[in-house]
């Protein structure tokens, strides 16, 4: 177990590095937020693994804080773009499903 736990952490970190590519390329703002979502869930998993491996239960509380507050940034993102100048009419919104 002393080998597997850090190995999984390294694997998830490499996963994150790969996910960074999507934030980098986009292309849409939603894509970038999506990757922030990936970072949230993977970071939680890494924190939980580290809590077990380093025998530091407080990191589980940190992970709990993370998942509690992960949605706030998404809400701010949506509130921002929908409330902003880029607001679209509902008709456009229905058309958007064609893709």
């Amino acid at each position: 177990m002393t080998v597997l736990l850090p190995a999984v952490v390294v694997f998830l970190l490499l996963n994150l590095v790969a996910g960074l590519w999507r934030v980098y390329t986009g292309p849409s703002a939603a894509d970038r937020m999506l990757s922030a979502l990936l970072f949230g869930s993977t970071t939680v998993a890494i924190l939980l693994l580290l809590a077990q491996w380093q025998d530091s239960p407080a990191l589980r509380v940190a992970a709990l804080l993370f998942v509690m507050l992960a949605a706030i940034t998404s809400i701010a993102f949506v509130a921002m773009v929908q409330g902003g100048a880029a607001r679209r009419q509902p008709a456009t919104r229905a058309n958007g499903t064609k893709s």
Binding site: P6, V61, I72, M80
Partner: protein, 311 residues
């Protein structure tokens, strides 16, 4: 293997800092900076500082992202996101200055790592003095007992930041309202779960803070994140005026902390002496409320808050 983890996280921090700051659209920079904050929490976890990981998680996930996005939105709504171009000469000078400063920080840091070594003198003195206070968490001990004047002034700095931001708001208080809440049913369900949980976790952190990682600053950050969530969901609105309860919440930390300290002075003790563990809890509770209220008000960019009348 643990070196591999550290190398990955540390490299990730450098890459994210570069991505957040140099080139690309401003929005991408903001998202990259949010991810940078999440990675900082991992770094604190690796550096054996769960206290810092908690604070970074609450602030980074709950407040920073929302703050930057709302500010970005406000600037865009004002039509003011037009940047001016820079001269190439200046970029070259900046590159030199950046490189130089990096080398300087590296040298100072490496020298400090070599010089102090494990368990510096102050750290040892702290470890020896801690059991007498009845606290198990050295960070809470430092904050409330050993360096209490610092902490008191830091709470005062928060208050000052709020007063200053109120001063620059101009005559039309709460000039730009927050964006309207969308998709109310789902967000409503989220708020119904998270808002009570945030209060619960804040109280847990406060109580645990005397023995385990946690304390007033993390608890206040969690409360603030809960408040930010309520604002984003349209349950709280910026108001031009500050109610009495809010005023009390804003100054509670400073007043209770300095009040306890002054009473002890009157009783013949040193200034800001802490009479017992109960006083630590009292002060930390007041600090938590003040920190939470101040951060929410700073986020709102307004003088006060008001709830939504039920429709």
């Amino acid at each position: 293997m643990s070196l591999a983890i550290d190398l990955l996280i540390a490299t990730g921090l450098v890459v994210l800092a570069w991505q957040a700051l140099v080139g690309g659209s401003l929005f991408r920079g903001i998202v990259m900076f949010i991810v940078f904050g999440l990675t900082m929490a991992l770094a604190w976890a690796r550096l054996g500082s769960p206290d810092l990981a908690m604070a970074e998680a609450a602030i980074g996930a709950g407040v920073t992202g929302a703050l930057l996005m709302i500010a970005y939105w406000r600037l865009r709504a004002l039509g003011a996101n037009r940047p001016a171009p820079r001269s190439p000469l200046r970029a070259r000078v900046a590159l030199g200055v950046g490189l130089l400063s990096a080398v300087l920080v590296a040298m100072i840091g490496l020298a400090a790592v070599g010089a102090i070594g494990p368990g510096g003198e102050a750290g040892q003195a702290l470890a020896e003095a801690l059991p007498a206070t009845g606290l198990g968490n050295p960070i809470t001990g430092v904050l409330v007992i050993f360096r209490n004047l610092d902490t008191l002034l830091e709470v005062a700095v928060l208050l000052a930041a709020y007063v200053a931001s109120r001063a620059v708001m101009g005559d039309d208080k709460a000039a730009l309202p927050l964006p309207p809440a969308q998709d109310a049913p789902l967000v409503g369900a989220l708020v119904a779960v998270l808002a009570p949980l945030a209060v619960l976790v804040a109280i847990y952190l406060l109580k645990a803070g005397s023995q385990l990682p946690g304390g007033a600053f993390q608890a206040g950050a969690v409360l603030a994140a809960g408040g930010v969530l309520l604002m984003l969901a349209g349950r709280l609105h910026p108001a031009p005026l500050c109610g009495v309860g809010l005023r009390i919440a804003l100054v509670a930390g400073t007043v209770v902390f300095s009040g306890v300290g002054l009473i002890m002075l009157a009783l013949g003790q040193p200034l800001l002496a802490i009479p017992g563990t109960w006083a630590v809890y009292l002060i930390e509770t007041a600090m938590m409320i003040s920190i939470g209220a101040t951060l929410v008000l700073l986020f709102a960019g307004s003088a006060g808050l008001t709830g939504t009348p039920r429709r």
